[in-house]
């Protein structure tokens, strides 16, 4: 594990609503990388983009350079992009990781979200859609599909069972409103629809989704630490 060399720079003013100035682009296909680069520059004009085709290089970059946003592919020649998500979350908690992938199934996406990814974008979507999703994410409105919502619900339900509470797990639980939002997403309602149904603004709904992603990450990290402790990795 490479140590983070950016610890002292963390905490500088870089709120999630501020424009993205430094961006990491992790993508192994050169054509797609070039296309993405163009697209990202259109959404965030003047941003500095660091490109990488391998997990190894990306982790090096993450420990050395400060990023506002990271667009991370999952299936890479030398490993999974999830490792980069984890590393970025460790080194730069304020940076936003977004998974950009060809995989739409929760088997691939859920681990990345647990590791701290803030939303995901499917690569093959038309340019306009991706642009819109990138803008939304940068404004703190990540997307959430029904299958991911179901998976998150199942995760927190399993955690709240009495059997696993005996593990002295730090209690990270969803609020009723967050659960309500998740349930409606799982049933196929879009976020604006849910906003209308619950009488909440679009921003409030987005905040709930953000909270859900955050809690999923916090809880998963605590779980991982506990598991590592149980296996004797930390003494």
């Amino acid at each position: 594990m490479r140590a983070c060399r950016l610890a002292d720079t963390i905490g500088t003013d870089n709120g999630s609503h501020s424009p993205m100035k430094t961006i990491l682009l992790l993508e192994d296909l050169p054509e797609i990388r070039a296309w993405m680069r163009k697209l990202v520059l259109q959404v965030f004009p003047g941003a500095t983009i660091s490109e990488s085709a391998r997990v190894h290089d990306a982790i090096d970059l993450v420990t050395a350079v400060k990023f506002d946003l990271a667009l991370i592919d999952l299936g890479l020649p030398d490993g999974s992009g999830v490792n980069v998500v984890t590393k970025l979350r460790d080194c730069q908690p304020d940076a936003q990781s977004v998974v950009v992938t060809i995989h739409d199934d929760d088997e691939h996406l859920f681990p990345a979200l647990q590791a701290g990814a803030f939303g995901y974008i499917l690569k093959e979507q038309p340019r306009e859609l991706i642009t819109e999703q990138l803008q939304r994410i940068s404004q703190g409105e990540p997307s959430l599909s029904p299958s991911i919502a179901r998976r998150v619900m199942a995760y927190f339900q399993a955690k709240s069972k009495p059997a696993s509470q005996a593990n002295a797990m730090p209690a990270v639980n969803l609020t009723d409103r967050e659960s309500e939002v998740l349930l409606r997403v799982a049933k196929g309602y879009t976020l604006p629809e849910i906003g209308v149904q619950l009488g909440l603004s679009r921003h409030t709904i987005a905040d709930y989704v953000k909270q859900i992603y955050r809690k999923l990450n916090v809880s998963s990290r605590a779980e991982a630490a506990l598991e590592a402790q149980r296996l004797g990795l930390f003494r």
Partner: protein, 663 residues
């Protein structure tokens, strides 16, 4: 399948095998036990007979002793002289002795032949048949009877080794031809051993009182006494020998039941000591015989002590070593001390051995009591108590002149106790055997169950493994498709200049993803599927600026097969694409419902509709034809109702039995 068979074989062929070691010794044991039981039944019969005879005798004897028949003449004084010749030594000094005459009291250490002379008064009343007889209850070791100087009876060898008649009552006919009318002289020559030369008082030289009377009366008395003193002990001794042999074999074959072997040795040893009743003329010198008897008692003690300890489940290394050593020591001391000190030494030894057996008995009962074998304690306590009473009686009888009836009964009681203990052991063996048979049945049942369980588990594991392999293979194919085909299609999507090719490539990518999804074969909950479909359809319509309405039941319990889920997704996606691309509709209503076992989807738009003659024009790529085809594959149907200006209604009907699998 082949592999599973091959791997199953070892299970099925190995598991029944452990039963066989159980099976092998059982018939053998059963046979032995059956024979033992038969023998013991015979023994019980013999014992009961002996008991009956003993009781009958006891009453007869008591009657005879208390009021002697008037015709019987009891002679209790005699003239005694020493001499080895063939007639009463008139020259030697003679003394008058009272009968019974025990040499231990009256002759000191002297052991040469002794002559007794009595004058027979006019015998009996001549009114009966005139047959007279002399009855001698106890003579040791042997005698010859002379009437008026003529020898009329001999008990056997009169020179060493003497015939041993100590247990045999003697009946001597007195021929009337040889009897004088008024007075007759009866001479009896007795040979025997001094007390110092024998191990037990009952084998020291002695002559009981003489009874003269009618032969018929005396013969009956003689027969009864012979039955008690000779025949009953012989019968019991023989059965003891047989039973002991069986027990020994049984215990020897099964080392865990070593107490049986020791009990067998004890029984056989006791029977061998009693052999003297059968063999009155042992072709061995007197001192050799006495030595053998003494050594045998050491051996019997060894067996008895070990039996009592092992029977209670105890085993001491020290005892295992000391008892044989004691046997050896006993023999050595008997040899070293020589025949002249036999009685003293044997008495000491008998005391020691008796104390050992009593201590072992007490320890046995104590230990069994601690192990809470209540029933065993009671049975053994009663039997050991009987043996103790018999032993004490016999011991006391040593000091009471000629042997009283109680001594004879006591002598008989000891082997009878052994037989009863043997019965008890056989009963326990039998019960253990039946338990073993039951246990074996239970064990076999368990082995069968375990085998079945293992086979079941194996099947489950095999199935699980097949599932795992399938899953792994699916993931590999999915990864390959995404990495190779997916990457290439993606490149086309984002680099092609033609919008149409980009769209086709995007659709191909989505198709590929669905195909991979269909590979899983994992059923999808209908409620989840509806959620996915709603999210996709409604958001796509919203992006295209079409108002979408979705009506579907919630929380349906059914599940869809992966294939049905994938095909329905494709049909819905195609229908939505058609509306977005061609219909120019502003509103679309999607209704999902379940009726009559069918799953029904209705997609209705308010667009331009499709002219009947140009129905095919809507069908770009796979279009409507492929929608209908997919529905047909699921045994359902896809109907398109449309007309210019009326919009389009697509009715998709899928039978639940193929499309929707119950959960």
């Amino acid at each position: 399948m082949q592999n599973r068979r091959a791997m199953l074989l070892p299970f099925s062929s190995q598991y029944p095998r452990p039963c066989n070691p159980l099976r092998a010794p059982l018939p053998w044991l059963l046979l032995l036990l059956a024979v033992l039981v038969a023998v013991l039944l015979a023994v019980v019969q013999a014992v009961l007979l002996a008991m009956l005879m003993t009781f009958g005798l006891a009453s007869a004897h008591a009657a005879g002793a208390s009021k002697p028949s008037s015709s019987l003449l009891v002679l209790d004084t005699a003239l005694r002289a020493h001499g080895a010749g063939a007639s009463f030594p008139t020259a030697a000094p003679a003394t008058t002795v009272s009968l019974p005459d025990e040499w231990a009291h009256t002759r000191g250490g002297q052991d040469g032949p002794a002559w007794y002379r009595v004058e027979l008064p006019r015998a009996g009343s001549p009114d009966d048949d005139g047959l007279y007889a002399l009855f001698i209850e106890h003579v040791c070791s042997n005698l010859e009877v002379y009437v008026n100087g003529e020898r009329v009876h001999s008990g056997g060898r009169m020179s060493p080794p003497y015939t041993n008649n100590c247990n045999h009552p003697q009946l001597v006919s007195l021929p009337s031809a040889m009897l004088n009318r008024d007075s007759n002289t009866l001479d009896i020559k007795v040979v025997g051993h001094a007390l110092v030369e024998v191990g037990s008082r009952q084998r020291a030289g002695a002559l009981s009182a003489l009874v003269v009377g009618p032969q018929s009366e005396l013969a009956a008395h003689h027969a009864r006494l012979t039955a008690l003193q000779v025949i009953a002990p012989q019968a019991v001794g023989a059965t003891l020998l047989l039973m002991g042999s069986f027990m020994f074999v049984l215990g020897f074959m099964n080392r865990r039941e070593s107490h049986l072997a020791y009990f067998g040795a004890l029984s056989v040893g006791w029977a061998l000591v009693d052999m003297r009743l059968w063999l009155r003329d042992i072709p061995l010198g007197h001192s050799e015989t006495e030595f053998l008897v003494g050594a045998m008692l050491g051996f019997i003690t060894w067996a008895a002590v070990q039996f009592l300890l092992r029977y209670a489940g105890m085993r001491y290394r020290l005892v295992d070593v000391l008892l044989p050593l004691q046997c050896a020591l006993l023999s050595v001391t008997l040899v070293v001390a020589g025949p002249q000190h036999l009685y003293t030494l044997a008495s000491v030894w008998y005391g020691v051995l008796a104390l050992e057996v009593m201590a072992a008995s007490a320890w046995h009962l104590h230990h069994q009591h601690q192990r809470r074998h209540v029933r065993s304690v009671w049975v053994m306590a009663v039997l050991l108590g009987l043996a103790l009473v018999a032993g004490v009686t016999e011991f006391l009888a040593q000091w009471t002149g000629t042997r009283p009836l109680a001594a004879h009964v006591a002598q008989l009681v000891m082997p009878v106790v052994f037989v009863l203990v043997g019965l008890r052991l056989v009963q326990q063996q039998g019960r253990a055997l039946s338990h073993a048979v039951q246990d074996k049945a239970v064990l076999e049942q368990r082995v069968r169950e375990a085998t079945a369980e293992i086979e079941r588990n194996f099947h489950q594991m095999a199935e699980l493994r097949v599932e795992q392999v399938t899953e792994r293979e699916r993931k590999r194919i999915a990864a390959d498709l995404h990495d190779d085909l997916g990457a290439k299609l993606l490149t086309i999507v984002h680099t092609s200049d033609s919008e149409r090719i980009s769209t086709l490539a995007r659709e191909a990518l989505e198709e590929m993803r669905l195909s991979v999804r269909g590979l899983t074969g994992r059923p999808v909950r209908l409620a989840d599927a509806l959620g996915d479909w709603r999210a996709e359809v409604v958001s796509r319509l919203a992006q295209a600026g079409i108002e979408g309405e979705w009506e579907a039941p919630e929380d349906l319990p059914q599940t869809l097969s992966a294939r049905a889920y994938v095909q329905t997704t494709r049909i819905l996606r195609e229908a939505t694409s058609n509306i977005i691309k061609h219909s120019r509709a502003t509103n679309c209503i999607v209704t999902a419902s379940i009726s009559d076992g069918d799953f029904l989807f209705v997609v209705q738009d308010n667009g331009d509709g499709i002219a009947p003659d140009t129905k095919g024009s809507l069908d770009r790529g796979h279009g409507l034809a492929s929608m209908k085809n997919r529905a047909k594959q699921l045994n359902g149907q896809c109907l398109v109702e449309s007309g210019p200006g009326y919009g389009t209604v697509i009715r998709l009907t899928l039978p639940l039995d193929t499309a929707i699998q119950p959960s």
